[in-house]
């Protein structure tokens, strides 16, 4: 990749991020159209896309974005109000920019022109031409003053009679505090003794050091009503940049000279005595200690502001680093190998029983464990980005279907493995579409049945052990168990007299080809949806739970593993073969004696503390020959609320399982979800518990 290509790639990545931010901000702006901060964010995002776009030769993007930016410049200046139309257009502009990024070669300028001309219609009068012409210069200077904090020294000396005019100087100081970081130093040296004091006169005067980005005029505004009743001097003492070096190293004496409290000669004279400058000045009676204090305050204030800036800069640079995701995948693979090799080392050292080797093996085990956890945590991403994508989806869909829906999210910071998040997107989109299309009713219907016109859709994510639970909750019509049931009978999926629990009925909607929608919309209703969702979630080793109350709403819960690359497994042995069960589903292990088998009269049922648990003989399932041990073991797992046992020869123990996918040839094998390499180099197959249970159930039905 040439250097230029690299830069272009970097720009594209950045632009994608900015577009996501732009989208999020726009959607938020829709809810609070007066939020200047959001408008600023939107403007900056557009500005950056335009700027770096033209820098790297994406002239079409730059040209297009410029026009949109112009509109938001007007918004920022209060010349254009935020309307739904504007947000709609800006969202389509955002999509258009994304299209141009996706396919830089394709020229679909027509769509762009259409958006722009609609956008221009929104602009007040002829102004947009003018605005467009000046916007680039204007934005340059504007953004500078906006981001720039200036530090002012305000010398404020009210006339003695201001109290009688009903002015409270303390309130003025309060107003200054609202402008920015502010330090106030009062002088009370002109307060007379009690005998001479007029209790209703003001003798105090102030030096105020204020750091603000609002400009001199904002400060003058504070004093506007007493302009004629006070002496006011406002100086800029620090502009944040140019004076940087000079200011932070400024000596107290220099500040005093600048303020006119001391002359240079006085200072030099005193300096020659070589004592602390403040002390010397006081002793020499040139200034009183209060003035030194004020100068000290000023010095300190500027130092603090500088420190804050520096900290911010450091935080900005150190907060993140961009890494290509395939590099990360490689790293995870390597760590996986490492874990495997470490297991071999541990096994070998245990066999050799050499104390030196053992201690090394232990150390390696500890380090590998940490390395594994760290690497996994790098791959973890907050699910929030996915959530914000759905905001757009919900907005567009509800508009299309004429429904009013408010989307709320919770637990956006919950972290999930990158691949899980990526693969989760499609099923989530499907579920949300279903909620909006089938679940939530139109505003008229809702009002009729006494619900608020606006429907509610809530997405939440939270950790639960090695799993993440994602809930999609709506307050729509809910699932109708009777309709589902009759539909299933009609399709021949169940017999008319089958007795099913509510939960079982709901899970029917996950079957392929099932749809209760009377009409097919372009959103959903074709019956290809839910089984695709089910398969996708199964592939992620997750599960789907559905609860619903007719007329009140539906909750769909997705249970997903934190990561796909490494799982905690339970290693078992059958004959000479090793197998791994995901430890997360294992509930307990019990013994199965010959006697127990005889008592069950050929049925695969075990009596566990009075409870009947069906079991599957893996030896039969995988057709493994050889002698049965005297006492077999049943590993009891929980599958979709049921307890099912798996009979194995021996339970070896917990095993850090690095999941390897089986090759293409073995892809079709049912009941196996992958493989792992054990410490001694042998391969152990990872069991697909759910599939195995399904297979066993089918066989039972056939019998």
């Amino acid at each position: 990749m040439s250097n230029i290509d690299k830069h272009k790639e970097a720009f594209r990545e950045e632009a994608y991020e900015l577009l996501t931010e732009l989208e999020r901000s726009l959607l938020e702006l829709e809810e609070s159209p007066d939020n200047m901060e959001l408008i600023g964010t939107i403007f900056r995002a557009l500005h950056t896309i335009k700027g770096s776009g033209s820098m790297f030769g994406f002239d079409r993007i730059a040209g297009f974005t410029h026009e949109v930016e112009t509109a938001f410049d007007l918004v920022r200046n209060g010349e254009l109000t935020v309307t739904n139309e504007l947000i709609d257009l800006t969202l389509s502009s955002r999509d258009h920019i994304k299209k141009m990024l996706d396919l830089p070669e394709e020229h679909d300028d027509l769509a762009g022109k259409e958006i722009l001309s609609s956008l221009k219609r929104l602009l007040p009068g002829k102004q947009h031409d003018k605005a467009a012409a000046v916007s680039s210069e204007k934005t340059g200077s504007l953004s500078e003053t906006n981001s720039n904090n200036l530090t002012y020294r305000i010398q404020f000396r009210p006339n003695t009679d201001i109290f009688t005019k009903g002015i409270n100087p303390l309130l003025l100081l309060d107003d200054l505090h609202t402008l920015g970081t502010c330090k106030v130093v009062a002088y009370y040296d002109s307060i007379p003794l009690l005998d001479d004091i007029d209790p209703e006169a003001c003798y105090t005067y102030w030096d105020i050091i204020l750091t603000t980005d609002k400009g001199t005029n904002a400060i003058k505004d504070v004093f506007i009503f007493i302009e004629d009743d006070c002496k006011l001097v406002i100086d800029i003492i620090d502009d944040g940049e140019k004076l940087n070096e000079e200011i932070s190293n400024r000596k107290i004496g220099e500040i005093l000279i600048e303020r006119g409290f001391v002359t240079k000669e006085d200072l030099d004279k005193v300096l020659s005595q070589q004592k602390r400058i403040g002390q010397m000045l006081v002793e020499s009676d040139i200034v009183d200690s209060r003035k030194i204090e004020a100068a000290l305050t000023e010095q300190q204030h500027i130092k603090e502001i500088k420190q804050k800036d520096q900290q911010k800069e450091q935080a900005d640079t150190a907060s993140s680093i961009r890494v290509a995701s395939d590099k990360l995948d490689n790293l995870v693979n390597l760590v996986g190998e490492m874990v495997t090799v470490q297991a071999r080392l541990s096994q070998l050292s245990a066999y050799k029983n050499d104390p030196d080797l053992l201690s090394i093996a232990e150390e390696v085990e500890r380090l590998t464990g940490e390395l594994r956890d760290q690497t996994m945590s790098i791959r973890m991403l907050p699910i929030g980005t996915t959530f914000s994508k759905f905001k757009r989806l919900v907005r567009d869909l509800s508009k299309e279907l004429g429904k009013e829906i408010e989307l709320s999210t919770e637990g956006a910071e919950t972290e999930l493995d990158k691949t899980v998040i990526e693969k989760l997107n499609d099923p989530m989109v499907h579920l949300i579409r279903n909620c909006i299309d089938h679940g939530i009713e139109t505003p008229e219907v809702r009002i009729n049945i006494g619900k608020p016109a606006q429907g509610m859709l809530h997405l939440s994510a939270k950790h639960s052990g090695a799993y993440v639970l994602i809930e999609i909750v709506d307050d729509g019509a809910g699932l109708d168990a009777d309709v589902i049931r009759s539909k299933a009978v009609e399709k021949g999926m169940i017999t008319p007299d089958a007795e099913l629990t509510e939960k079982e009925i709901y899970s029917l909607i996950l079957a392929p080809g099932f749809s209760t929608a009377k009409t097919v919309t372009n959103v959903s209703g074709r019956g290809v949806g839910m089984d695709v969702v089910k398969r996708a979630i199964d592939n992620l080793r997750g599960s789907i739970g559905i609860t619903s109350q007719k007329g009140i709403g539906t909750t769909i819960t997705l249970k997903l593993p934190l990561t796909l690359a490494i799982i905690e497994g339970l290693l078992v042995q059958i004959g000479k073969e090793y197998f791994v069960l995901p430890l997360s589903v294992v509930e307990e292990c019990v013994e199965l004696t010959r006697e127990d088998i005889a008592n069950a009269h050929g049925r695969h049922l075990a009596n566990v503390r009075g409870q009947i648990v069906p079991y599957i003989r893996l030896r039969e399932q995988f057709i493994i020959h050889g002698e049965l041990p005297e006492i077999e073991q049943i590993v009891i797992v929980g599958v979709e609320g049921h307890r099912v046992g798996f009979v194995v020869d021996e339970v070896i123990g917990e095993h850090q399982t690095v999941i390897k996918t089986l090759g293409r040839v073995y892809k079709g094998i049912e009941g196996i979800s992958g493989a792992t390499i054990l410490g001694d180099g042998t391969v152990a197959l990872i069991l697909d518990i759910q599939k195995l249970v399904q297979i066993a159930e089918c066989e039972e039905v056939i019998k």
Binding site: L170, L172, P199, W206
Partner: protein, 132 residues
């Protein structure tokens, strides 16, 4: 009371039905002045008189500000002036240890806080020194 422009919400010198309660107790040469309620410009003249009287007759004057509910610049100025006067007369003027939140807040707002006394004589006793 945070109106733009710093105007007070009520006219200057309102009717005195809610008078600041300034009480002076005498224990020989020691005077305790307890101020309840507002220490604002409406009562500035009253406070001035109380301080003046106490400093004339007493040797040590202690101010209890813990029940002050409102305070403005005029109050701060009077306290400062009284203190300067006490130093001049070689008498003592002190605040009770617990000065109350209103006093502290007003001192902070007005930028009256300081690190050393304004003259050598007030080095230790200045009312505005942080921690005093």
């Amino acid at each position: 009371m945070t109106r733009k422009g710093g105007f007070q919400t009520r006219p200057y010198k309102e009717t005195r039905d809610n008078m600041a309660d300034i009480k002076a107790e005498k224990k020989g040469k020691e005077h305790l002045i307890v101020i309840n309620g507002g220490l604002t410009i409406e009562y500035a003249a009253e406070l001035k008189n109380a301080l003046q009287q106490s400093l004339k007759t007493g040797e040590r004057v202690v101010l209890d500000l813990s029940n002050v509910t409102e305070m403005d610049l005029s109050g701060l100025q009077l306290l400062c002036s009284a203190h300067k006067t006490s130093v001049n007369l070689k008498k003592t003027l002190e605040l009770m240890q617990n000065t109350g939140e209103v006093f502290k807040e007003t001192v902070r707002k007005a930028g009256y806080k300081r690190y050393t006394g304004c003259t050598k004589e007030t080095e230790k006793s200045c009312l505005w020194i942080i921690g005093n």
